[in-house]
Amino acid sequence: MGMTPEEYGKLVQRASPPSPTGKNLVMAFLVGGGICTLGEGLLLLYQSMGASEQNAPTLVSVTLVGLSVLLTGLGVYDKLAKVAGAGTLVPITGFANAVASPSIEFKSEGLVLGLASKMFLIAGPVLVYGTAASVIYGVLLWLWERL
């Protein structure tokens, strides 16, 4: 074809419809906000039941993670995510979905090389770079205190 990639790129940009950002934004805000509100409600509930200040947020995380994994197993979470986008991606429930979904999907390749090893397919980078950043922070902190 007598056309450069640059020319064609412009043509493609014109022919490709953009994502409906306005609608997506509203849904992400509503659903994401909703999940956080649920978290806050659980936090207040656990505190009123006598959970310590340190344990209550941990219990909230664990509850939300469990709920998300369950909904993933029931095939509901991905349907919600189709509408909510980042609203279901950014909360910790999105992390839990990223752990659960490949483990369900790749169970067909066995419990070890399928289910377990593919568990980190999407969530792995989050743990790797999250802990790496925290180690660097720890070293800097340690050095700072020695100066």
Binding site: M3, P5, G9, A15, S16, Y77, D78, K82, A84, N97
Partner: protein, 346 residues
């Protein structure tokens, strides 16, 4: 013998006949506008199997068996099976055809496989290397998702340019025979790459390949697009369809109203959540074998250019930053065995 016309176009002196065909699909395909044209519909996306890959193989086995049954042949009477699919090492075809015992040529052309298998089988038949052959391909939404994108339960959003991989397969039985339709000609595609790297915009990546193949066909033969009832591309979807229209107009071969795309025919984009349209080898295969071949046999369509398009990338090379290489193979299908091209629209 097959003659070469111009630079790249193959014309068959004794055009192979397509004796019978079959198409198989699942729930989404049944709900689409062509739902009634499928020979077999299986509501269970697992096709009674315990993995998605086995399901896709099962789909190919069933569709080939049905096509052979309609042709009135046993698998022993067929000298060649030309098949391929999207999965690594084309396992859907290999394991789907394993039980049939037909000499097997595995092809990889991604979503262009239906045209690739038809044209390869036709050359073998015309060379008298075979009397009868099967051309077949399949795709499955779930196998494609897990190989190329995300686990099915993963919560993600698809952009409007994304296409939906059809859970479908098609098979055609070719012979050196007299029943229409006939494979009159073919063009083997060249690998085209205009630098598109967005795997969620396959139509844009493949449109230049379709344009290049069509341009070579029209230049080699001196025919005009308007002489054909339909110039039907494989699975460009809405974005690629619009781009092909524009590219062909720029090249001086405007497609006008004879342009159609299997990716826009299989599903109802208003009612079904498929974004830019359908894709996958099974899309063009099932639209051809379910919908278009019967129309060609009846003579409702006289001449048709079937241009199946394929994106020849793997997740590995795309992750390494490569752009998406694409191909389009063309097959000229006709109700008539010989003679001038006369569209029934004129």
């Amino acid at each position: 013998m097959a003659l070469r016309k111009g630079k790249n176009t193959i014309l068959f002196e004794n055009p192979p006949s397509i004796r019978a065909w079959a198409a198989i699909g699942s729930t989404m395909e049944a709900q689409g506008p062509l739902g009634g044209s499928f020979d077999l519909i299986e509501e269970d996306a697992y096709f009674g199997q315990d993995s998605w890959e086995k399901a896709e193989s099962q789909m190919q086995e069933r569709v080939v068996r049905r096509a052979l049954e309609k042709a009135g042949f046993s698998s022993a009477q067929v000298q060649g099976a030309f098949a391929g699919d999207l999965l690594n090492q084309c396992v859907s075809s290999t394991y789907g055809l394993r039980a049939l015992g037909i000499p097997y040529v595995g092809l990889f052309g991604a979503c262009s496989t239906m045209a690739e298998s038809l044209l390869t089988a036709s050359v073998f038949l015309e060379a008298r290397a075979m009397e009868r052959a099967v051309a077949c391909t399949s795709s499955h939404f779930c196998t494609a998702e897990r190989q190329f994108r995300f686990p099915l339960e993963y919560g993600g959003q698809r952009p409007p340019t994304a296409q939906w991989t059809a859970t479908a397969a098609g098979a055609a039985v070719l012979e050196r025979g007299e029943r229409p339709p006939f494979v009159r000609g073919a063009v083997v595609g060249t690998i085209q790459d205009l630098g598109i790297s967005d795997a969620a915009n396959m139509g844009a990546a493949m449109a230049p390949a379709a344009a290049d193949t069509l341009k070579r066909f029209f230049e080699d033969t001196g025919m005009r697009p308007q002489a054909f009832d339909l110039v039907v591309t494989g699975d460009l979807g809405q974005v690629g369809f619009d781009l092909l229209r524009e590219l062909m107009a720029r090249e001086g071969h405007p497609l006008d109203h004879c342009q159609a795309d299997c990716g826009l025919m299989l599903y109802d984009r208003e009612k079904q959540d498929v974004h830019a349209g359908a894709s996958g080898c099974g899309c063009s295969a099932s639209v051809l074998c379910g919908h278009l071949l019967p129309l060609l046999r009846q003579g409702t369509l006289k001449n048709l250019l079937f241009v199946a398009t394929g994106a020849l990338m793997s997740p590995t090379v795309v992750q390494q930053g490569e752009s998406i290489a694409a191909i389009a193979h063309l097959v000229w299908l006709s109700h008539d065995r010989s003679g001038e091209v006369k569209s029934c629209r004129y």
